[in-house]
Amino acid sequence: MLDPAGYERLTRHLYDHVGLAFDDRRRDFLLKRVARRAEAVGLASADRYVDFLTRADAEGRELQALVDLVTTNETYLFREYEQLEAFAHVCLPELCARRAADGPRTLRIWSAGCSTGDEAYTLAIILLEVLPPAEGWQVEVFASDIDRQVLARAEAGVYGERAVRDVPAPYLSAHFDAVPEGWRVRPHVRRRVRFAHLNLHDRLAMRAQRDFDAVFCRNVLIYFDDASRRGVVDRLYTALRPGGYLFLGHSESVSRVTSAFRLVRAEGHLLHQKP
């Protein structure tokens, strides 16, 4: 058990170091994972674990392990596909026209908080299908996450049947190989995706990210409280080129986003566009 003061120290530590906020509704969720980490490092109680985490974890290794555990959620390829269709039908032609007019035929897309890479590969597949390389388009999907464990899985690019259940059959046969564990993303798709470790809360590391045409940050900011969510969105804004789009999850509130973005409607979806 963890007394209220210990819980407060734990959540403050998570907030101060990685910007993760836990309200009371997620208390049980967090405490279960704390218990798992306490057991893993051989500490007898959650209390002792919080002491260890806040006082003895100078290099942040244990913090990283705990963060890995609390930010994992189920993802799958072609999740919330309708929004991606709006991206392909409405945003891509517009972005391509803009890029073709003012420079090289390159597009840069960011999957921010990419988890096991499902969204990044989905985007790479869509871009391959919509923008054939023969037309000279070079596309880079940059995919980042704070969790090194999921990044390793993302780079492997192997998914079980559940994760590919929404992938259209022609895409599955064109872009995946059947392997004993399920399906592996083919090299021509993997080449388009670059994975990197990045903490969205790290304002200095975030500033190095520039010149994106679209940023996908869906169902990631729900882990942050209002102030740090706004901070992250401000940095995503600076990472976009003028005219670039930010994609948030369906249910994420538009009020928590800087008013600098223009809200635009595309095929029934509300998207944020940098003017």
């Binding site: 706004r230 901070g231 800087t258």
Partner: protein
Amino acid sequence: MTATLLAALGDADEDDRLFAAEDLAAEAGPAAIGPLAARLAVEEAPLVRDALIRLLGDLGGAAGAAAVLPLLGSDDVPRRNGAVAVLGRCGAVAVPLMADAWRTATPAARKLLLDAAARLLPADVTPLVRLGLADDDVNVRITAVELAPSTGDAACRAAVEALAAVPGPAMLRDACRAALAGDR
């Protein structure tokens, strides 16, 4: 606090102004409040303005409140509402300063002070709600009536009852009825 960051707050590029504001807040802490509030008073870019409001709210406290109170009188709508957002995150320490500002504030600014009070803990803002219930301006009274029930304060309830008993504009009378009925 470096002179470079202070200078960068006035940079021509909005990204650089945003970065300078974030760095100042992170490196100088409460000492950044003065320069950030001064920038908020003139900043035009929505990106930077929203960020200044966020950062001033993060720093908060009595110093944060004192720095943005003058902006309530701003002619610029986003700036005065930015001050409301900051005050709403400054906590109970802001309330005496807000009550002080009340004495010389215009009716419009008094209404904004109550808008900020609505974002603070109800028990902390009782003094402001009492002031609002006795105000000359009908919109200030309506807002105070809306806040009154959550304070749980007997004097506030009595003031709402007194307002309900005299003739007045329909919206004020309805607000009193709703407050007394616990109609939330």
